[in-house]
């Protein structure tokens, strides 16, 4: 498995909760003024929903499950995906509560890694953005070739989202 979660995340050495972002500029850039960057990111990524979806990942296998699950149902199963990762500590400090709920991808293993994140304060998301900016951790990209590698891996594992016939344990 060449796509390593740890190397993608850089500084982080603990499990993370992954949020897919629609486009890289939604998260802004380290060269942007921090507070206007936080306002933009909060508005672009979090303002739409009261509760937002995250996927927990602590291993490379779980990262593959999330990527393949999120790409299931798309026009190509090897689409690139941009993620931003949050640590448990950052979510706690931002007063964001996590509740385990089933995801709605075509991969059961990915669905079991899904959580709903619920803010307790009006400025929870803004605080979360500022915490991650302060850590200097940037979003990371799963490229098409990495997504293809993950797809092959999940096919070998018999994932029902991509393998015919499915044989993975999570199908039971």
């Amino acid at each position: 498995m060449a796509v390593a979660l740890r190397s993608k995340l850089g500084l982080v050495v603990e499990p993370v909760y992954l949020r897919k972002i629609d486009r890289r500029s939604d998260w802004g850039d380290a060269s942007d003024e921090m507070f206007s960057r936080a306002s933009h990111a909060e508005s672009a990524i979090f303002s739409a929903e009261d509760t937002f979806s995250l996927f927990f990942a602590s291993t490379d296998e779980e990262l593959s499950e999330v990527v393949v699950g999120m790409n299931s149902g798309r026009s190509s199963p090897t689409q690139q995906i941009d993620f931003v990762g949050f640590t448990q500590t950052e979510l706690d400090l931002a007063r964001i509560r996590l509740t385990g709920t089933q995801g709605d991808t075509m991969c059961d293993a990915a669905n079991s890694l899904h959580v709903d994140a619920i803010p307790r304060d009006g400025d929870s998301f803004r605080f979360l953005c500022l915490s991650v900016f302060a850590s200097q951790r940037e979003p990371f990209r799963i490229s098409k070739s990495e997504a293809a590698e993950m797809l092959d891996d999940m096919r070998r594992r018999g994932c029902k989202a991509v393998a015919q016939p499915p044989s993975c344990e999570c199908v039971k």
């Binding site: 629609d22 942007d32 929903e49 299931s72 798309r74 709605d104």
Partner: protein, 195 residues
């Protein structure tokens, strides 16, 4: 062809267009909310509307506008997945839209510089770039937007050049390594590194 009335009431043709638009939007909303097999199957119906409707340009605009205004994660991908399957049709639409958007803006806001909708252009350019049209056609559309000043549109151009990945596109992409916006320069570098 039915001629327009002088009474202010809708012509049959306009009524038909209105019905078609309503049906399309209803299916589009179901497609956006559906998951799994239902999502895939409804995507085929949406695609058929866009390919075969006599008002396909209007429906393409409806689809992009709906996804731009939606408040859900993945809204841009939803539109790109559908529109990129239109091949040359989406290239033609993008070419026409570029001219019309600038012209319409000039009529509405004659004293303001053109301010494109970032999300609209992100969807349109990446749909073109990921389509099955020839690399030359795709590159031609994307390059026309290369002089944009908005970060969002330049981001769309850079990502689209990476999608096209032809020799011309890669040569053009390298020019963005020295872009004045560090975000754009870093994005171009990361795309080139992943090749």
């Amino acid at each position: 062809m039915i001629e327009a009335t002088t009474t202010g009431s809708l012509t049959s043709l306009e009524q038909d267009e209105g019905v078609e638009r309503s049906r399309f939007l209803s299916i589009l909303r179901r497609y956006i909310q559906a998951r799994g097999e239902d999502h895939v199957n409804l995507g085929r119906v949406v695609n058929a509307y866009l390919k075969f409707s006599p008002n396909s340009n209007q429906l393409i605009n409806e689809l992009i506008s709906t996804c731009v205004d939606m408040k859900v994660s993945g809204r841009l991908d939803i539109a790109i997945d559908i529109l990129s399957q239109l091949g040359k049709q989406i290239c033609r639409y993008a070419n026409d839209f570029l001219i019309n958007d600038i012209t319409n803006w000039g009529h509405r806001f004659p004293e303001r510089a053109y301010e494109p909708n970032d999300d609209y252009w992100f969807i349109l350019l990446r749909s073109v770039a990921q389509s099955s049209a020839s690399a030359t056609d795709r590159f031609g559309v994307v390059r026309k937007c290369g002089k944009a000043t908005s970060r969002g549109v330049v981001e769309a151009v850079v990502e689209s050049l990476g999608d096209i990945a032809s020799e011309d596109a890669m040569t053009e992409l390298k020019k963005y390594l020295v872009h004045e916006d560090p975000f754009i320069a870093r994005l171009a570098a990361s795309i080139l590194e992943s090749r």
